[in-house]
């Protein structure tokens, strides 16, 4: 085990730096720096958006009024709320050292984190969706991406989780969807209080073992420092926050919010004003409200509860043109979150 795994603890840093430092490391690894495990804890709360997500998924007005910065990261996943009760880790490897299968690469890079949770006394597991869970609750948010010739996977140790704020930063005009999202988030996302130092040591040891590399405390290079300064500017710009070009969706207005893999809420409105708000848990419609134009509840929605998404969509599609449009939105949401 002669090759090295650089381990950098950035400590408590500004929200902006809690993003830009590890992005700079990814550019560094792409340019030849050794594989690197890094840690950072934001000194203040903020919201963050996955690389290809629509900035409108975050309630910008609320964030502005609450003093929460919003940044766009270069890895995947949805909009999230971050604060100083979450310790973030990033494992960054040269792209040619990870599996060509993204799912396999993710699993391989998250397995050390599972070992670290276990070492910290949390009976964590990697579920079939590739999420780190305790039972049926998600305990670690993750995202991954390729930045030039480096692949980076990020995750967190959640010491406390502010479910209300994590829901509040999300743009959801429909109050019922917001309430349902909060209910499901409380049920399916949880914190695992643990000793962060023990977690960091265990993760470094697990990554070292998994990669066959000696974990060595390190620092960022001069080039990575320069890159950090460049990224500070890039990530602070309105143009960057707006994100890459997006193609407008067609059909009914919809807002889809993922709570964790297989668990999501949907609010959609047909052109005639009919509205659907649905909560889905592992492919089954958990709760659903359908209102006709004018706001009165549509009794036909009652039997949809407990149905599979596909079956519920099939039933909805029999309820006229608006039912058909809402059914298409519901069916199309499954599996693409």
């Amino acid at each position: 085990m002669s090759e090295m795994l650089r381990v950098i603890d950035f400590g408590r840093v500004t929200p902006l730096r809690s993003q830009t430092l590890w992005h700079a490391v990814a550019y560094g690894v792409s340019a030849g720096q050794p594989p690197t495990l890094s840690f950072a804890r934001p000194s203040a709360p903020y919201a963050c958006l996955g690389y290809l997500r629509d900035a409108a998924e975050i309630d910008q007005e609320y964030c502005r009024a609450s003093g929460l910065p919003v940044y766009r990261r270069m890895v995947g996943g949805g909009p999230v709320y971050l604060d100083d009760r979450q310790l973030f880790f990033q494992l960054c490897l040269p792209a040619n050292e990870v599996s060509p299968s993204r799912a396999a690469a993710l699993r391989g890079m998250l397995e050390p984190a599972v070992a670290a949770f276990r070492a910290a006394g949390v009976d964590a597991g990697l579920d079939q969706d590739g999420e780190i869970c305790l039972g049926d609750r998600k305990i670690c948010g993750h995202g991954a991406g390729q930045i030039e010739d480096a692949v980076v996977v990020c995750g967190n140790l959640i010491e406390e989780f502010d479910h209300e704020r994590a829901t509040r930063v999300l743009a959801m005009p429909d109050p019922l969807q917001r309430a349902e999202t909060l209910r499901l988030m409380r049920r399916y996302v949880t914190a695992t209080p643990g000793d962060p130092q023990a977690f960091m040591q265990a993760l470094a040891a697990a990554c070292s073992a998994a990669l066959g590399r000696r974990a060595v405390p390190g620092e960022i290079s001069a080039a990575e420092r320069e890159r950090t300064a460049e990224l500070d500017l890039r990530f602070s710009s309105a143009q960057w926050l707006a994100g890459p070009r997006r193609t407008a969706t067609t059909g009914p207005q919809r807002r889809l919010v993922k709570v964790r893999a297989g668990i999501w809420t949907l609010a959609a409105q047909a052109p005639d004003g009919a509205r659907l708000v649905a909560s889905v848990v592992k492919g089954i419609v958990d709760r659903v409200v359908l209102t006709a134009r004018g706001g009165q509840p549509h009794e036909a929605a009652r039997p949809l509860t407990g149905m599979t998404v596909a079956r519920a969509a099939g039933t909805l599609s029999t309820l006229g043109e608006s039912g058909r449009l809402l059914a298409a939105v519901l069916a199309g949401a499954e599996g693409r979150l």
Partner: protein
């Protein structure tokens, strides 16, 4: 594409009427007068996972062989779509951008990504174009991926 061009190799479809960039699983189909259509082959789609988001360039954007022209997200993993040729984007598949599942369902037809005009026709010569070479490469790559666990056996 004619049915004659479509083959199955070890359980994966491959179209033999176009060129391939082996490292990135992108295909290039010449459509005349330096015009090409570019997409991703089924093995590239399979290793990506269920496609959730697709970001494609604007028409007029310059393509550089070996450089990203867009991004895709699958399993919360964002990665580049790497251009196999240099040129200029002429059209973008808005249907695929709006419904990335189209790339999974019809990778060689309706699931194309962009149309472009080549700036250097010699780029095509750097890709795999011979049907036998394409078939051999594809079979070997599938075998490698199965052996390493990147795709199901």
């Amino acid at each position: 594409m004619t049915d004659d061009a479509l083959r199955e190799v070890s359980g994966f479809a491959i179209a033999l009427d176009r060129a391939y960039a082996p490292a990135t699983h992108m295909w290039v189909r010449p459509t005349g007068d330096l015009h090409v259509t570019i997409g991703m082959d089924p093995l590239g789609v399979e290793t990506s996972g269920t496609l959730a988001q697709l970001s494609l360039p604007e028409p007029g954007q310059v393509l550089i062989a070996g450089q990203p022209f867009g991004q895709l997200e699958a399993v919360k993993f964002v990665g580049p779509l790497t251009s196999p040729v240099s040129g200029t984007v002429r059209a973008v598949n808005a249907a695929a951008a709006a419904d990335p599942g189209l790339v999974e369902r019809e990778p060689f037809t309706a699931g194309w990504l962009i149309k472009a005009i080549l700036s250097d026709p010699a780029d095509l010569g750097k890709l795999l174009t011979d049907p036998q070479a394409i078939t051999d490469w594809y079979a070997a790559r599938i075998a490698d991926y199965r052996l390493s666990g990147a795709i199901a056996r």
